[in-house]
């Protein structure tokens, strides 16, 4: 496991989207690559991916089930459930509920976990810069 070794110094504090000359110095790359390899950053990426990948796969599959079912099993989808409210309408409505629920799960996770982990990386970056000569 990696110890808290200081990061290479950050050569230039430039904002994003800024006009920059082509070419990149090796110190630049070393600084960002160093940050990328810290435990803090790896934890953040792992936590995000563990949520985002399955959630994305799930909503894509769930969404495309609706047109597929409408096209492949129209008879089934036209079955009335309550009065004349049929499976097709209820399935479409459930898409809204699923989308809202996934968004709510994401927000909770982001506010409670991702933000904290991202702050840890930023703090590590600050420490790295101070430690440099």
């Amino acid at each position: 496991m990696e110890t808290d070794r200081p990061l290479p110094a950050q050569p230039l504090d430039r904002g994003p989207g800024e006009v920059r000359v082509a070419g990149v110095t090796s110190e630049d790359t070393a600084y960002w690559e160093g940050l990328e390899h810290t435990d803090e950053f790896r934890q953040l990426i792992r936590a995000r991916m563990r949520f985002v990948l399955p959630a994305t796969a799930f909503f894509l599959v769930y969404y495309f089930l609706l047109p597929l079912a409408n096209g492949l099993a129209p008879g089934f989808m036209r079955t009335d459930v309550i009065g004349h409210i049929n499976i097709a309408y209820l399935f479409a409505l459930s898409q809204f509920v699923v989308a809202w629920l996934l968004a709510w799960f994401y927000i909770r996770k982001a506010n409670n976990v991702f933000d904290r982990l991202a702050a840890a990386v930023r703090e590590r970056a600050g420490r790295g810069r101070r430690a440099a000569p």
């Binding site: 430039r14 904002g15 994003p16 989207g17 800024e18 006009v19 920059r20 082509a22 070419g23 990149v24 630049d28 790359t29 960002w32 690559e33 940050l35 990328e36 950053f41 953040l44 990426i45 995000r48 985002v52 959630a55 994305t56 909503f59 969404y63 495309f64 609706l66 047109p67 597929l68 409408n70 096209g71 492949l72 129209p74 989808m77 036209r78 309550i82 009065g83 004349h84 409210i85 049929n86 097709a88 309408y89 479409a92 409505l93 898409q95 809204f96 989308a99 809202w100 996934l102 968004a103 709510w104 994401y106 927000i107 982001a110 506010n111 933000d115 991202a118 990386v121 930023r122 970056a125």
Partner: protein, 562 residues
């Protein structure tokens, strides 16, 4: 004076007051493009919802449902689910790495000249097709709902520009949008969106409430009434899928054509939103990634509730008014026009509950809301298109990299205003020209979503998440994705009037073919670029964008007010 015209003028008046107020706060580039990054999460959420719920979705979806029943609802579902792509993958990294435009994020890793030019090209292609659809719709609506306005302006429009006779209604919309954007920039556009979103939600809630009131808030009897409406061609009732997408009739590539078309539409809807420049631009107006995330959730709440209400409006119009009477009393000799379902429903409900004057008033109110909607959406689009032109192309390609000059903030804002004006003039002319050739309008709006998902989305996703991605790959997807989409649409059905029975490409929604092509082009371009040695810089810079996008380290700050 006509009631609709009065309400229309009131709406215009309110938006002009907002613009005047915003103009005093728009001097620097950050203010012009990003509203000083001072928009709160919930405000931006309202503005995103405002940008998104265009007249096409308000009048268009209600009309589709009113005419085709359940199948029209498929658009609504896709348009909400789309925001999960934005929320999970796009919103926060965009805020963390971008400045004003999509190209800012791409040029982080790539050679600025080719990538910014290519991104400017695809941005203009998306925004222009979306804008034309909106303006053509606006023109035809004004003609039907406030004929006095169109008629009184007609004598002044007796001349042609480059062979095209300008349309008075389209020109009114175009001039207003130019005023908002040129004078008020992003601040005015955002607040016009917010006002419009509130009006639109209010209108939809009111109409839904009255529809449900008519059925005594009994969903059982509401759906009984809907199932009593039958489609003549298929014999299905309006609660059943299969009226718009006629499953099991024709085949393409050995698969049911209607099914392919429906899935293809779904792909463009849920992937395209994450590549729409005018939506992406909104994430630069908030202070940080957290606010970007909150704004998506606000937008999802509003957009979702709104699209559920479209079923009440659409089904309400189908049951209470009926397809045959949709335009009977709105205007003399009007052709059956599904866009009029919501206004006509408003008139019916108003008359039922508040008498004749009530009907007139509600019709006028819904018409005014529709105009506010169109004005706000075209203003957002103009801003995105002029951003691509002036910030990406003029300032960052021509002035900085070709002429190697320094561009002052004042000059940038001035150029931005001039390009906004040019974009406005061009779209007035284009809309008048394309509008004359009929059935194109609905199609070009769909094209915008397909280009966004085939050209912009691969470029954004790979820039953020694929280490080997390089300039060649980005240009290949931005230019290739746009070109393939336009080509497939052009050789497909529906582009010509009358509809081509044996088109070279069978699908009207081309996403299912062109979106994978966009991604494949990005990958092939990347490997070719590596052979040519273009990958080294982009790969080194990946570490930087990776860290910045995920953590917000060194993100564009909120400027100190001054």
């Amino acid at each position: 004076m006509n009631l609709t015209l009065t309400l229309f003028l009131i709406v215009v008046g309110i938006t002009l007051v907002i613009t005047g107020w915003a103009a005093r706060r728009t001097r620097t580039t950050v203010q012009f493009w990003a509203a000083g990054r001072g928009i709160k999460g919930w405000q931006n959420g309202l503005a995103i919802a405002g940008d998104y719920m265009s007249a096409a979705s308000f009048l268009g979806i209600a009309g589709l449902i009113a005419f085709n029943g359940y199948d029209g609802f498929m658009y609504s579902v896709g348009w909400l689910v789309a925001y999960l792509t934005v929320l999970f993958l796009i919103a926060e990294p965009m805020r963390n790495t971008g400045k004003f435009t999509l190209a800012d994020v791409l040029s982080y890793r790539m050679s600025p000249i080719p990538v910014r030019s290519a991104a400017a090209f695809s941005t203009v292609a998306v925004s222009a097709s979306y804008m034309m659809a909106q303006m053509i719709g606006a023109g035809s609506l004004i003609k039907i709902l406030i004929p006095t306005l169109d008629a009184s302006l007609k004598p002044w429009f007796n001349w042609t520009v480059f062979g095209t006779k300008l349309d008075p209604s389209i020109t009114v919309v175009g001039v207003l949008m130019m005023i908002y954007v040129i004078a008020g920039g992003m601040v005015a556009t955002t607040w016009v969106q917010i006002v419009k979103a509130v009006l639109l939600m209010g209108g939809a809630v009111l109409l839904s409430f009255l529809v449900l009131l008519h059925f005594g808030f009994n969903f059982g009897s509401f759906f009984d009434a809907i199932s009593g409406v039958k489609d003549k061609a298929t014999g299905l009732n309006f609660t059943q899928p299969g009226i718009l997408y006629k499953y099991g009739q024709k085949q393409a590539f050995g698969v049911d054509l209607a099914l392919l078309d429906n899935i293809s539409l779904g792909m463009a809807l849920i992937l395209g939103t994450a590549g729409l420049p005018h939506i992406l631009m909104r994430f630069f107006t908030v202070p940080d990634a957290k606010a970007a995330r909150q704004s998506v959730v606000w937008a999802m709440g509003l957009i979702g509730s709104f699209y559920i209400m479209t079923t009440f409006l659409g089904f309400g119009a189908a049951t209470l008014v009926g397809k045959a009477k949709i335009c009977a009393t709105v205007a003399p000799n009007c052709k059956t026009n599904s866009n009029l379902a919501a206004p006509r429903l408003a008139e019916f409900l108003g008359t039922q509950y508040f008498g004749g004057t009530g009907g007139e008033f509600l019709l006028a109110f819904i018409a005014a809301v529709a105009f506010a909607t169109i004005l706000a959406v075209v203003a957002g689009l103009t801003l995105a298109a002029s951003g691509a032109f002036s910030h990406d192309f003029y300032v960052n390609v021509i002035r900085t990299h070709i002429l190697h000059g320094h561009v002052s903030d004042q000059e940038q804002v001035l150029v931005a205003r001039i390009t906004a004006g040019l974009v406005g003039l061009l779209s007035i002319w284009l809309a008048a020209r394309v509008g004359a050739t009929a059935n194109a309008a609905a199609l070009v709006a769909g094209v915008a979503f397909v280009i966004a998902s085939a050209a912009n989305l691969p470029a954004i996703l790979f820039t953020l998440f694929w280490k080997r991605f390089n300039t060649w790959g980005a240009v290949a997807s931005l230019v290739g994705g746009t070109a393939v989409t336009i080509w497939l649409v052009a050789i497909g059905p529906g582009w010509t009037v009358p509809v081509n029975e044996h088109p070279a490409f069978p699908l009207q929604n081309v996403g299912i073919v062109s979106i994978p092509i966009g991604f494949v082009l990005a990958i092939i371009g990347t490997y070719l670029g590596e052979l040519a040695g273009a990958g080294r810089l982009a790969e080194q810079k990946f570490h930087e964008i990776d860290v910045r996008a995920q953590t917000g380290l060194g993100a564009e700050p909120v400027p100190v007010a001054g």
